[in-house]
């Protein structure tokens, strides 16, 4: 679910002539083309936006992954970044923007609030954007580090290439609970 799966190879270079030629399946070719031309629509509502700026700025540079071009009209975009808390009042706006996007389209929930509401467990907040629109990738974190965001982006690209529409979650690179256990055992005084 959260891992990048290596697909069986569908493209082969054959030595038929001097130059050689490649065979492939059409959907694999389309998937390959789509995964490197993601036009993003940033729906930035809250503090996760700061991490989003960091991700798009030169230090982390999302352009390396072919997803750098923001389109501020949903009609030109095919990847919806939902960055930050979505309140009940904003939910109709988000749903409308999703409906305005052209197929094929993908949705990425950036941060804990967009994924499940986070600690806003009250009357104002929508507990996860998948309550109203389908979501492809969840990136937990409050806010997530840019590395986690790129993990999510690569996971999405991998899913696009395979034509897989099941949702995925970015797993932490290190299990925080595991580290906690080690820390406890290390500090334990031997009897």
């Amino acid at each position: 679910m959260g891992e990048i799966i290596k697909p069986p190879t569908t493209t082969a270079v054959l030595s038929g002539s001097e130059q050689g030629f490649a065979t492939t399946r059409l959907d694999a070719l389309l998937g390959w083309a789509r995964k490197y031309s993601l036009f993003m629509y940033p729906f930035v509502t809250a503090c996760c936006g700061m991490e989003f700026f960091s991700m798009t700025s030169p230090r982390y540079d999302v352009a390396r992954f072919g997803a750098e071009a923001p389109r501020f009209s949903p009609r030109q975009a095919d990847l919806l970044w939902v960055v930050g808390t979505i309140s009940q009042r904003q939910a109709p706006v988000l749903k409308r923007i999703y409906e305005q996007m052209l197929d094929p389209k993908w949705v990425l929930a950036f941060g804990t609030c967009a994924s499940c509401g986070g600690f806003y467990d009250n009357y104002t907040t929508l507990a996860g954007i998948d309550k109203i629109i389908p979501c492809d990738i969840y990136i937990p974190g409050c806010p997530p580090r840019p590395e986690a965001v790129f993990d999510g982006l690569l996971l999405l690209q991998d899913k696009i290439a395979r034509g897989d529409r099941t949702p995925g979650i970015v797993k932490p690179r290190q299990d925080p609970a595991q580290g906690l256990v080690e820390l406890r055992t290390k500090t334990k005084v031997p009897a």
Binding site: Q88, P92, Y123, T124, D130, I132, P134
Partner: protein, 189 residues
């Protein structure tokens, strides 16, 4: 710091001043709700008080008290460098009849504060030029900061999707409900 202002108020309004309290050199005056606007007007216009700045206005819900709500206003005088907290108590136990005069004629900055207090606490400000919800949407029913508003009640504008399964780290009880206290039948669970 503003004990003088409290004395002036007591002298001018007499029995309208129900209570006074001083804590950490901050004076609090509780007045009759019916005299709310008069006291506010006096505090702004009297040269000895000169409260030209309304800092904050909000409501507090005490579900086991009668009157149930407190309207709290913080005033400050930039020239005289003193401040005062003014309170009035309104509303019966069911939360009805929570009405008080608007202070927008005195400080126009009170407009959005009163709208917010109306929106979240349900206190009506009589004479307010445009009393409608400011933070929540018009379709919202009830006033969420009242203690008898159910803590887990949501009023979505968009119908939720059906027939999808949430992935393992998430469950149907999303969010973190630590510290949540549910107020039922007059007391907290």
């Amino acid at each position: 710091m503003s004990q003088k202002v409290v004395d002036i108020l007591k002298e001018k309004f007499g029995s309208v001043v129900l209570e006074t309290k001083s804590e950490h050199k901050d004076e609090t005056v509780v007045v009759e709700a019916s005299a709310w606007l008069d006291v506010a007007q006096f505090l702004r216009d009297d040269p000895r008080c000169d409260m030209e700045m309304m800092v904050d206005l909000c409501g507090v819900d005490f579900p086991d008290r009668e009157p149930r709500f407190e309207v709290v206003m913080h005033l400050h005088s930039i020239r005289m460098k003193h401040r005062l907290r003014l309170k009035a108590r309104v509303g019966d136990r069911d939360g009805d009849e929570a009405k008080i005069k608007s202070v927008v004629p005195v400080w126009s900055g009170a407009n959005w504060f009163e709208r917010e207090t109306y929106d979240l606490m349900g206190i009506e400000f009589e004479g307010h030029p445009d009393l409608r919800r400011i933070l929540l949407y018009p379709e919202f029913e009830g006033h969420p900061l009242r203690k008898d508003y159910p803590a887990d009640k949501i009023q979505p504008l968009v119908p939720f999707r059906e027939g999808y399964e949430k992935l393992p780290p998430f469950d149907e009880f999303e969010g973190m409900s630590f510290g949540r206290q549910v107020f039922r039948s007059g007391k907290f669970d």
